[in-house]
Amino acid sequence: MKKRVVAALMAGIMVFGVAGCEAGGAESTIGAEGEKGNSIKIGAILVGDENEGYTYAHIEGIKKAAAATGIAEDNIIWKYSVPEDESCETAAKDLVDQGCSAIFSNSYGHQSFMQQVASEYPDVSFVAMTGDTAAASGLDNFSNAFTKIYESRYVSGVVAGMKVAELVADNKLGAENYDANGNVLIGYVGAYPYAEVVSGYTAFFLGVQSVYQNVSMEVTYTNSWFDITAEGEAANALMADGCVIIGQHADSTGAPSAVQAALDSGKVAYSVGYNVDMLNVAPTAALTSATNNWSVYYKHAFEQVLSGSRIDTDWAEGYSEDAVAITTLGPSVAEGTADKVSEVISGIKDGSIHVFDTSKFTVGGDQVSTFALPDGYECISDGYFHESEHVAAPCFSLRIDGIKELN
């Protein structure tokens, strides 16, 4: 009996051994084929993997940019599901060991660990996407980058505003959908209560108001970037309060799915997503999603790495470089939305529309005329808040009138 087991094991090992040789042979020919282009290596530290919308968008952006700049896909080294702790430091060091010339991390919490490793390896470039400390760090090889996502959030707000206006005109709303002052209620599922999220929901809110002035918004935080259950529950709570539009700054499909379920059960509710097209999970409830086109940045950064120059300390672009967009409009959008959207986008591009126009919002009943960053930079001039211009990461953290944070 024992002998038979051993024999079976041996047979198994031998089978794998042979298979190993074959597979190995096949792979080496593939490697030889891809050997045109440059030999530069890129490291990517990702907070999730391809199953998570935000990271998926980064993966696609990196692949597209690599193809455009002649970097072989084999020369991109991926680190998936790296938590925002010292694992990021280990991952970054490991990528340095593997010969990467530039290393990108895609989540805010990676930043301080990236900065740490950057200070130890001055010959390698490090980029903490969505971060904000590169300029202050004084390191030549450490950068931050972000898109002007607030521009596309504003546009997604316009789409939502058109819908609200339509719902009001068609008399589809009940008393529960209005607050005490007669404003239509809308909701927003945010991840964390800090500037990146505040800037995003404020832009969304102002976009809605640019079409339909009388709205008020409730914001719920989930304290996680990716939590399907919590996001779904937050959306349900907001809809229970009477919110008719649910926007989001969190990475899962939890909120759109919840909104679709509510819509199917006869409630009036529509969803505006983030990162990815939500029509798969919310075919009739999803209006659109605000999304980043990361390949624009990655291509720019890869070109700088290839030419041997320093990667921009702070990079932030929006519609002007096509770095942001909204996804395909869903079937439920109001009539004329597509035309309105392209009108607003061209307005943003030619500078006739400023998202954070200080005449369009108040804080505590007053217009805001000054907002200084910790380093003394004045964000407000020429009648609008200059978001993502001095540093890449969003810094608009004012809580404007009409938006209520529930937790």
């Binding site: 597979a23 702790d85 010292e86 919490g109 209560p193």
Partner: protein
């Protein structure tokens, strides 16, 4: 012999004792090998990848470069340290599910020292962090122990609940110390001045923590095996009544042991913060407080075995990450591999402790 008239079951289990060491080792090696073969089939069936290549990727992921070796050693030492802390409690049959919380409070006070007392001379700062982290962990262990000794409360629930208190405390301090403001993280503490960081030895800061853990391992081995305290712990663990009959104060042994257990777990928090991450967050303990329970039990509280099992788990973890990176398998696939291997290792203990007897058809038993 009335039993013989009954129908004998197909398979009978009998407890077996005193299997020779080489045989135990053999069984464990075979089960590991079988785990690898089964994993191989699974890997091939699901992904079509060559399993041998996947395994070699795992090995290189865990030990391929200096950075990776240190990272694996760091993970191993963290797990081992917590397991060493848990060992006396579990040997006493005190179900200390609270290591996670004990690590966290140790980490909180360490971070506090690094933030508020950075001006102290390094040697003073380190001694202080060592002492206060152990004290904080000990306090977290003491509370459930006192209630158990005085009121016979259920320590499993109590220690588990203490975890949640510790997690909330951590969130509180993360919010208090957040840097930069509004980021909801503490960031790297003393990033430029590196006050309160373990100094690098042989190219890595892990060296110091590894030494501390190895010393603790030896001390725990001696403590459990050769001291009166250790003997009292095993007597209480075997039978509280026997312990009482022998004049051992069960309450006092419980309290004393949990003080020790909590203190060592608190030290693990000290090493996690000052020796590795230099920050504090609710993921500082990262579930290791629970994984270490498996380590302690599998090792039967033997220090050497705890180190070995920690190494295996750390290897699986580092290796799994590399598979995800290199073979384009996502982390779920590598978790499956880890799961299969652990299943077989746990399974091998079954075959070491029990003997399977098959029904014989008229044949004599061997």
């Amino acid at each position: 012999m009335a039993k013989e008239t009954k129908k004998e079951p197909l398979i009978r289990l009998t407890k077996r004792d005193g299997m020779p060491a080489y045989k135990k080792l053999l069984i464990r090696c075979i089960s590991l090998l079988m785990a690898c073969v089964i994993c191989g089939f699974v890997i091939y069936a699901i992904t079509g990848l060559n399993p041998v290549e996947v395994y070699s990727t795992m090995v290189s992921g865990a030990f391929g470069t200096r950075t990776r070796i240190w990272s694996t050693v760091k993970e191993m030492m963290m797990l081992a340290c917590i397991a060493i802390g848990l060992a006396p409690a579990f040997k006493m049959r005190f179900w200390n599910i609270g290591a996670e919380g004990q690590v966290l409070v140790g980490g909180i006070v360490t971070a506090g020292c690094m933030i508020y007392l950075r001006a102290l001379p390094p040697i003073v700062l380190f001694s202080l962090m060592f002492v206060v982290s152990a004290a904080a962990g000990a306090l977290w262990g003491l509370l459930p122990a006192v209630f158990k000794a005085k009121y016979n409360t259920n320590e499993t629930l109590f220690t588990l609940m203490m975890n949640y208190v510790a997690i909330q405390l951590t969130s509180f301090f993360v919010a208090k110390w957040e840097n930069p403001f509004g980021s909801n993280t503490v960031g790297v503490i003393n990033q430029n001045s590196q006050e309160g960081w373990f100094p690098p030895v042989m190219g890595s800061r892990v060296f110091m923590s590894a030494d501390i853990v190895l010393i603790l391992a030896v001390l725990m081995f001696v403590y459990l095996k050769y001291t009166k305290h250790g003997y009292e712990i095993s007597v209480v663990g075997e039978s509280e009544n026997t312990a009482r009959y022998a004049g051992i104060s069960v309450g006092w042994v419980t309290i004393r042991t949990m003080l020790l257990s909590g203190a060592i777990c608190g030290l693990a928090g000290f090493m996690a913060v000052a020796g590795a991450s230099h920050t504090i967050s609710t993921s500082t303990a990262g579930g290791r407080g629970f994984t270490a329970i498996i380590v302690a039990w599998l090792a039967k509280f033997d220090s050497g075995a705890m180190l070995l099992i920690s190494l295996l788990l750390a290897f699986l973890q580092s290796g799994a990450g590399e598979i995800a990176s290199k073979c384009k398998l996502n982390s779920y696939a590598s978790e499956m591999i880890t799961g299969i291997i652990l299943f077989f290792i746990l399974g091998s203990e079954f075959f070491i402790n029990f003997k399977l007897m098959f029904r014989k058809h008229g044949k004599e038993e061997a």
